[in-house]
């Protein structure tokens, strides 16, 4: 994992903890944990997350890239974001 990916993961994790897991601070988040599948975030929260990622990293995701796989876990999101930035 690159340093860049790690810092992206940290940013996303902080957002998720603050916005969605504020009442569950004990939740352990690993980079590959399937967030939606494990019901840690729901579909509406996922929308907020997409919005956050675009704003934070100044990106506009192409509609073709808006597939679950790109947002399934912290590492999936970080990889996707880094590809978009590149």
């Amino acid at each position: 994992m690159t340093e860049d990916t790690e810092s992206t993961i940290a940013i996303i994790e902080a957002f998720i903890r603050e916005r969605f897991l504020y009442d569950r601070p004990e939740t352990v988040l690993t980079p590959d944990l399937p967030l939606i599948e494990q019901r840690l975030i729901d579909s509406l929260q996922l929308m907020q997350l997409v919005q956050f990622l675009q704003e934070k990293f100044e990106l506009r995701f192409d509609i073709m890239d808006l597939v679950f796989d790109n947002f399934a876990s912290l590492s999936a999101m970080a990889n996707f974001v880094s590809k978009q930035k590149g």
Partner: protein, 452 residues
């Protein structure tokens, strides 16, 4: 017997066509087989349909009859906590969105209201069943009608409007329209009835009003509707792949079980499943008729196309197509376009483009739920509000960038454009998702599924 315009079917498409024709100074004759009021499904209207009724001067009557006022649609997804609200919004002359309202209707009452208005406005109503069209030299010149009292009529017309709804009268007879194709949502079945004692919202905020439409999504192609039609009664229905309907089980048992199990929020709202209306089913509701307009005839509304009922576009499409038909019919009666192969090619393409926008919205919703959600919640909120409100015939604004993105997502952007340019004035049938070959012909055998 002779008339300028013969309308087959006195439902909303036919009655609205008569009303709009009257505005052009044209009287019509409506043939309707059933006595109104009669039951019909399809109770919810888009904002555009509500606006059209206001334009027809029916607002007071709609209020007097107490039809529930709809401010929007609340969609409950798979996560119990999450629902999203699609508000009914209008767009003013300056292009700004404003909060608007439309109606839910008990169709027996609403359809009777429209038909009564048409008759009061001068349309002649004949109770009977059109059996076959009269065609001379490739031009439709009227229809044979078996009247309710056992008589037979030959009604000659300059123009015939097929407003027969899902029975697709002309298309099923063959020889006048082009072929009828299976649509994307075949092998689906809608099973529905009405309940009393349902728990409705009771708030004052627009998304918490008691008369809004609720939709419950279980999984792809499997969902339920909840549409209040008066203070006590709610229309409920479940739509699912036909394969999920157990053979031999009664529709009532199936619907009751589905209403209890489909979604926790739906079962919460139905503490008792008290079905107060016959349980009915419509299988294989998705189809599209090619060349639905021609010399002396046009098909309006469900008589030529039906995509998917989830966002309540049916009444809206029927009413608006009826509105747009009137000036085209007037021109024909005045002798214009008599020599062209399809005198209503412009009208036909105009309607097809509108429904294509709806179809692409619906397909994106089903096939690409994640991308669709991002567009609805964030990226194209306002533009999609227009489409949900049924403003799809405003071709100066549609397809908008949201719909174009959906087309790209669905891999049909170029395809749509090509179909508009090849001179056939006809949209490409997308075809059934179950069929590897595209758009097989509809098998008209009654009670049978389309060709598998």
């Amino acid at each position: 017997m002779k008339t300028d315009v013969l309308i087959v079917g006195g439902g909303p498409a036919g009655a609205a066509a008569a009303l709009f024709l009257k505005r052009q100074g044209i009287d019509s004759l409506i043939v309707e087989a059933e006595s109104f009021p009669r039951y019909h499904i399809g109770e919810s209207m888009t904002g555009a349909a509500g606006q059209l009724l206001r334009d027809l001067g029916l607002e007071e009557e709609m209020i007097r009859l107490g039809f529930p006022v709809k401010c929007g649609v609340k969609v409950y997804g798979q996560s119990v906590a999450g629902s999203w609200f699609v508000p009914v919004r209008g767009r003013n002359a300056a292009g700004q969105l404003f909060d608007a309202e439309t109606w839910q209707v008990r169709r027996s009452d609403f359809d009777k209201l429209l038909l009564d208005r048409a008759v009061a406005g001068g349309a002649t109503l004949i109770q009977g069943k059109a059996t076959r069209p009269i065609v001379r030299d490739g031009v439709v010149k009227g229809a044979h009608v078996d009247t309710r009292d056992g008589g037979q009529l030959v009604i000659e017309s300059e123009m015939l409007l097929d407003c027969s709804g899902q029975s697709t009268w002309l298309a099923n007879l063959g020889g006048v329209t082009g072929p009828k194709y299976v649509g994307a949502y075949d092998k689906q079945v809608a099973v529905f009835s009405q309940v009393r004692g349902a728990i409705r919202d009771s708030g004052t905020a627009r998304d918490e009003r008691k008369d809004n439409t609720l939709i419950f999504y279980k999984q792809k192609y499997h969902w339920a509707w909840f549409i209040p039609i008066d203070d006590e009664t709610v229309s409920v229905g479940v739509v699912a792949p036909s394969s999920l309907l157990p053979k031999g089980e009664s529709l009532r048992t199936y619907l009751t079980r589905e209403l209890r199990n489909l979604h926790p929020e739906l079962s919460r709202r139905l503490p008792v499943v008290d079905l107060v209306e016959e349980v009915r089913a419509i299988p294989n509701y998705s189809y599209q008729v090619r060349d639905f307009c021609g010399k002396g005839f046009m098909c309006i509304g469900d008589a030529h196309r039906f995509v998917d009922p989830i966002f309540s576009f049916g009444l809206s499409a029927a009413l608006r197509e009826a509105e747009f038909a009137a000036p085209a019919v007037k021109a024909w009666l005045e002798g214009k376009n008599r020599d062209s192969e399809n005198p209503f090619a412009d009208y036909q393409l105009f309607c097809e483009k509108g429904i294509d926008v709806l179809e692409d919205l619906l397909d994106a919703f089903w096939e690409h739920p994640f991308a669709f959600s991002v567009c609805v919640h964030d990226r194209y909120r306002d533009l999609l509000t227009d489409t949900f409100a049924g403003r799809v015939y405003e071709h100066e604004n549609q397809p908008n960038v949201a719909i174009n993105d959906f087309r790209r997502l669905l891999g049909r952007a170029g395809e749509r454009e090509l179909s508009y340019q090849d001179g056939s004035a006809y949209s490409i049938p997308i075809g059934s998702r179950y069929h590897p070959e595209r758009a097989p012909l509809w098998d008209a055998t009654p009670g049978e599924s389309p060709a598998a």
